[in-house]
């Protein structure tokens, strides 16, 4: 099956692409609205600044097409900043609008904890999760971020605690997203990607 990886200009695509190919999927990097419009499975990776991200999508005229595709039920996996972009806005870029599929605000990690939250951490499952299927409860995942969305109903399937309980795994109908980097999380990360691909099929 073909997986379309959205290239908004600043993401770390090669490692995501390599991880998906290792699992046997056919990948393509897409940069144009018409490519997104006909995609059957989407992945939205992201690193860097929220503002660069949403601006990158907007300048390529991808925002509306992407929202339409998600509304139509196309399976999508957001990674790291790709999770944060699903929300309405972020404290990292006040005034910038995210994809606004989850009507909440992404917040800065508090000064009481080390920030960025960099390293391997565990999850707390809030309900049954498609992406975490067959993964041990105590598994570690690699995080690298300074902002996070507070864990909440109904979108959060698993939370992680760092300063506050934040959404580590989002599953809302066809919209899936992870705050950690599955492509950098060893074998368990690879399993998350495989779970997504199997579910999307």
């Amino acid at each position: 099956m073909k997986v379309s990886i959205i290239d908004y200009g600043a993401g770390n695509l090669p490692s995501v692409e390599r991880a998906l190919r290792t699992l046997g999927s056919d990948t393509e990097c897409v940069t144009r609205p018409e490519e997104i419009a006909k995609a059957s499975t989407l992945v939205l990776p992201g690193v860097g600044h929220f503002s660069a991200f949403v601006t990158g999508l907007r300048e390529r005229n991808l925002t509306a097409t992407l929202r339409d595709a998600i509304a139509r039920g196309v399976p999508i996996l957001g990674i790291c900043l790709g999770l944060q972009a699903m929300f309405s806005s972020s404290e990292e870029a006040p005034g910038e609008r995210g994809l606004d599929l989850i009507h909440e605000n992404v917040q800065a990690l508090p000064s009481t904890v080390k920030s960025p939250h960099i390293g391997w951490n565990q999850l707390r499952r809030l309900r049954e999760s498609v992406l975490l299927r067959d993964i041990p409860e105590d598994a570690y995942f690699y995080f690298a971020h300074s902002y996070a969305a507070a864990a909440g109903e109904p979108h959060t399937a698993a939370a992680c605690d760092h300063g506050f309980p934040f959404a580590a795994v989002v599953e809302q109908n066809n919209l899936m997203a992870v705050q950690f980097h599955p492509e950098k999380s060893g074998e368990v990360g690879s399993r998350v990607l495989r779970n997504f691909l199997e579910w999307a099929q």
């Binding site: 600043a10 770390n12 090669p14 490692s15 390599r18 991880a19 690193v47 860097g48 600044h49 000064s111 080390k114 920030s115 960025p116 939250h117 960099i118 390293g119 391997w120 951490n121 565990q122 999850l123 707390r124 041990p136 598994a139 570690y140 690699y142 690298a144 971020h145 300074s146 992680c160 605690d161 760092h162 980097h181 492509e183 950098k184 999380s185 060893g186 074998e187 990360g189 690879s190």
Partner: protein
Amino acid sequence: MTLARRIIPCLDVDAGRVVKGVEFAGLRDMGDPEELAARYNREGADELILLDITASRDGRATFLETVSRVAQQLNIPFTAGGGIRRLEDGHAVLRAGADKVTVNTAAVARPELISELAAQFGSQAVVLSMDVKKTNAGWEVFVRGGAESSGRDAAAWAREGVSRGAGEILLTSIDRDGTCSGFDCGLTAAIAAQVSVPVIASGGAKTFDDFLAVFGEGQADAALAASIFHTAEHSIGALKTYLAGRGVPVRLSR
């Protein structure tokens, strides 16, 4: 639920080969970077750091090629650096497949380099590497592979680096590097107390107890070592099992 302490093997490379120096001098061939990277990825390393220790202009293409080949072997985070002087150098390393870039000498000369990289790629992609030596003036930052004093105080430089956007500090004790006399826990704890970002301790690792100490009194978030892993004197898996048995939160590979 706890953030695990990280074990990070480091590959110092020169002309496409992994080498090891003692106290920043005297190189010895330690093997092929791809082979070592694949082994560490398999053994449960939490991350891999690759440093170009020649950092000469003509060796640049070779280094980027090594970055790219090593990246293919990994499904864990990957940091690369050495000789990063400009924004474009950082971009080239990230484009070759690294997730983070380290800066050292050039950032001391021109601290704006840190801000530029952080603005472009995010703080999580910028690691400030500092080589520190105890002098009469206190803990001082040295540059050019530890050869030259910068006159900067280590704690002050760490704070400035973080305020400019460095997302991690890679702290090497020049006095301990390659000596196998243990991490400098005093230095590590002193810097960790000064900054809000994770600190990676480096220099002097020899025994499992050295790691236990640096995660305890040293307050390190991560510990880096090279030769003891390269020679297969210690496996990363055995080290982590040892640490886990003594209450240090580590990610055990399964």
